[in-house]
Symmetry: D2
Subunit: 369 residues, 4 copies
Amino acid sequence: MTKSPANPIPTPSVPAPDILRCAYAELVVTDLAASRKFYVDVLGLHVSYEDDTQIYLRSFEEFIHHNLVLTLGPVAALKAMAFRVRSNEEVDAAEAYYKELGCRTERRKEGFVRGIGDALRVEDPLGFPYEFFFETTHVERLHMRYDLYSAGELVRLDHFNQVTPDVPRGRAYLEDLGFRVTEDIQDEEGTTYAAWMQRKGTVHDTALTGGDGPRLHHVAFSTHEKHNIIQICDKMGALRISDRIERGPGRHGVSNAFYLYILDPDDHRIEIYTQDYYTGDPDNPVITWDVHDNQRRDWWGNPVVPSWYTEASKVLDLDGNVREVLKRTDSSEMAVTVGADGFSYTRAPGDAMTGDPGEEIGFKMGNQV
Amino acid sequence: MTKSPANPIPTPSVPAPDILRCAYAELVVTDLAASRKFYVDVLGLHVSYEDDTQIYLRSFEEFIHHNLVLTLGPVAALKAMAFRVRSNEEVDAAEAYYKELGCRTERRKEGFVRGIGDALRVEDPLGFPYEFFFETTHVERLHMRYDLYSAGELVRLDHFNQVTPDVPRGRAYLEDLGFRVTEDIQDEEGTTYAAWMQRKGTVHDTALTGGDGPRLHHVAFSTHEKHNIIQICDKMGALRISDRIERGPGRHGVSNAFYLYILDPDDHRIEIYTQDYYTGDPDNPVITWDVHDNQRRDWWGNPVVPSWYTEASKVLDLDGNVREVLKRTDSSEMAVTVGADGFSYTRAPGDAMTGDPGEEIGFKMGNQV
Amino acid sequence: MTKSPANPIPTPSVPAPDILRCAYAELVVTDLAASRKFYVDVLGLHVSYEDDTQIYLRSFEEFIHHNLVLTLGPVAALKAMAFRVRSNEEVDAAEAYYKELGCRTERRKEGFVRGIGDALRVEDPLGFPYEFFFETTHVERLHMRYDLYSAGELVRLDHFNQVTPDVPRGRAYLEDLGFRVTEDIQDEEGTTYAAWMQRKGTVHDTALTGGDGPRLHHVAFSTHEKHNIIQICDKMGALRISDRIERGPGRHGVSNAFYLYILDPDDHRIEIYTQDYYTGDPDNPVITWDVHDNQRRDWWGNPVVPSWYTEASKVLDLDGNVREVLKRTDSSEMAVTVGADGFSYTRAPGDAMTGDPGEEIGFKMGNQV
Amino acid sequence: MTKSPANPIPTPSVPAPDILRCAYAELVVTDLAASRKFYVDVLGLHVSYEDDTQIYLRSFEEFIHHNLVLTLGPVAALKAMAFRVRSNEEVDAAEAYYKELGCRTERRKEGFVRGIGDALRVEDPLGFPYEFFFETTHVERLHMRYDLYSAGELVRLDHFNQVTPDVPRGRAYLEDLGFRVTEDIQDEEGTTYAAWMQRKGTVHDTALTGGDGPRLHHVAFSTHEKHNIIQICDKMGALRISDRIERGPGRHGVSNAFYLYILDPDDHRIEIYTQDYYTGDPDNPVITWDVHDNQRRDWWGNPVVPSWYTEASKVLDLDGNVREVLKRTDSSEMAVTVGADGFSYTRAPGDAMTGDPGEEIGFKMGNQV
């Protein structure tokens, strides 16, 4: 049973904007050349535009101007996470919605970045710099340009993942905003450790991970097949940057996707992700995972490295200042699961599959270095 | 520079037998039903014959009677590791060869197990129960029976891996026996931690891993593609036996193969392996890895779990008694690499790839739980 | 420029129902045992329910009761093609919509088949038996049941494809109904040969193929990866039913998906399909292919077999009688493209890629047996 | 029952050379720039050396200097097909062997091409320009250079395929030379249409295809996985050279490999090939296919285009003159199988798999355009 939030964010009287999907992230990076090596030379994202201060990148199948903007700046951080809405009228709706919430908003008819027109940026109730837009420059969709197809090709932007101290509070706010929860992680007391929410009919367009926030946990791109992700690992090995592979590859429990987490030169976390499932029906069953289920984060029971729980990117306010980070007060997922806490399990006792007696439950983490 | 062994095994005056390839292993298991679940229901190996005390299994592309014999017994152990030779005359050659070495040998014209004819078993100088045979019952090669092809199909037996205290000593013995080294792991003093040796033109038919021995480290089967190995992990997750996934999946540095290590109900270790390279030319370049190279065991720098270094299967002598295990005296690979010893590296200092200053060398293991 | 239809279907004054996606097809088959062999033993679809007269099947990731109903009957035909709508109110909307169109409709609160509740069936203006429903029994979503995952696993229902004489007329009707065109095939005079239309954000939920109709061209299921489709071919080869592989595998030009067409025991055509692209944005660019482009139907220029153009399944009216088929009056795609008509092309003249002079345009079809 | 050749080639009294594997082909091309586009830009082979008259190429996993030499010349042809032997002494053995056969031979201590030392070239009894060598310059083995790994990467040279009028005669000659037959195609009278022969433990290092000869049918490179071959098709589609895809992709009956045939700018045929099986045991079972088996050439029953049977590359003698082509006198495979001859079959009558009555045997070819 999900606990309702202590100090809920009010539900506005005006309708929420009709959000299509997560569309692009603007990341501040401190060394544009190093970032270009990582995103263009290593990951093979396609350049829509670049100059001395910015690089605009898109995935193989994208037709809007970009999925990622790298902006040179003094402090590595998330400057904006942008959602595309159905029309300009929905940008108006977003503006009215956040004004009623008492959030600071900024509207620019000419857009905040190249290739995007009329757009709204807000400091949302969780402290994240959300953008809403419809207008965009169409660029060549490269989806049949197999002459440009790399062995580890990134074909779509899949989702964002945000770190926030109070997940139920953030979840209720995003449900008001029109997102639908597909999966979450809870414990027996109903403490929610993370929640996944979607608009475009996949497992998520964004997710909330419980922790000190507001911070950006990662931005995720998808590939066509699993071997494409393996190639990215192999290539990073060949380039002797395997230490930038933070976690994986593996199979998620939550989302059922095949995944990999890597770190860019500024430690912005990028997930490579493939093959989750369709969630577009209104009665799509929500899957709740037990935080003590050893396969929830990795279906194969491989351990989550602590950095994945503790590290994340700072976020900026509309003035470009780093937002203060608030501590999570609920118990942390890492504290209740990692290491020899004895509370995680792989299966119920007595399972005969391995011929084990069963009273000792299989559990890999304690075996890890 | 490889150190020559302290007390070398003498080179016989008679020619070594002409070995074709690793052919099958006979494993003693303590619960035949549990083992059948693992090898037949989970891994999908094909039954050539079974009764109340034995199960004979083969891989998808095999035409000899079996690649694995599971024999019910009181203590889990390796009873025999069998190599196929070019003819019965080569079995004679093997007999003469080991008699000159002063090893205990046993010759059975009717074979030691079903489906195998005239065969020799020996207690070899390293204490392993080697078998040599040519005669075998041909069975249906299932290589085009795609109606029987499972998503994680094991198509060939690829190799054995043996644990022995003195790797250079064992290596020289196996080179005399006709094996060719393809890769090894050494340190700057020339201590050898492991060596890979082949007959059939792949990276190995058997390998020597430095440690307390004689013990069997693992038996390896190969798949066609990488996704087949991922499916085995996914299936073990679905069966809630993910704790039987010991290590991987990953990309080996040594051999360049994609790999997975899993444990059977008796803790016999099975590797699933795919896509190494051709080594059949006499001047095939030997690759020597620095034991401190953080990518030697996993090209992506993922850590090796300690159990992989310390645990292995007992081996039996020709009377069926468990062989005594001798301690390794050289430094162990685990001791010099695992954890925060600070002696392992991912790349040379100053690499600009990630924009790191470089004086701090990327190294993932210390980050692991 | 698309020609507007001669005798258009009027646009109702009431709103169109909010369609979520294509949901299931009901096919009449003449030998239930033979059909079960094909759909369950060969293709591995999962049985939700079966008795002596019907088999209900679903794909690996589905949570509604079924994607395919096989109903025993005297004449092989399509009995219904069903779309899921957002709520029961949308079933009401569909009823009002088709009543205004003067179509025969039938509403059943208890549903027409098991696992489906309140539903509407209509004889639509093109003569197809459409069903609209929301209520359904939820079944176990098997998406993580990798213990049941076959090497050629079908994971989702992807789309339908309908044969109709006047494509522009049908296209306008379906656009009124809320479908959005993603791609089409036209010639220089604007004759439309086929059109693809979507609701769920993929390339299509249904498509119109120009030809004698109303007839069902095929029902398509998707796989995770391309190798899954190759396995289905390999398995059909092993079962010696390769003559039931009608066309492919190949890469579509239209949709960019990897595809295969096979025939069930009643010659109902099934497509296996994977990896098209996201189309959910309202300004998703429509791709129009030249009917003379030799890569439009197969990106590799492999020929389309004539049966693929000429053969299709009959459809039934609400009384279960076979609908009369009307002839196509526009020129047929087969006539203008297949064989040595000299009007198809692979590339523009003068392309230096192959070192060809270029005045003779590469064209494979004439070379075929 | 294989017919013995009419006028057999005598078996020399001296031992045959110990051949390791097929090593490289030297092809004369008429436009070096166009050939470079094809082999380097499209196929991604790696350049070991190039100048204005030659390009030396190798596959991803190769360590000898090259697998393919493109030599500029007036007439497109095969200049040499080279096999690597175990040592220089084996080059001597080859020289003695062919001298006894009365063949014209030429020995060059410095080699015939760059990167190769002491070598013998011969005009062999079938009229082919064979080369035998051991000495070669070792180059960087790129097998872990995943930073250079393309989506359609060619990782090894797999085999040659030669067209000769009298297959049994050529087969007996190659068996004397030490090749072992793995598979062949015959009819009920014992006419042999083709034979596959190996040295390195795969299905073949070279094959004989019945037809007017001596001509080179193709040179084959292998990939790691099937999707790599699909990418080559997709890329050729994107480059609008799909008409250079002659046949496939498909699954071979013979060899069980996944295949593709493409044509270079001079119409030299290249096969891309992956996943055949191990054949290194002396008692490896030979598979004989019925020429009327509709799945022998393509396991899925897809038709062979006539050009694949009729077209092949000319071969040169040691003076660089084009060899005269002798007509095949036995019936041709194309004549007895292609089109509506009614003599080919997919399965035995009465097969219930599809619910067919069975007296009409499934057969796809007649349906093709």
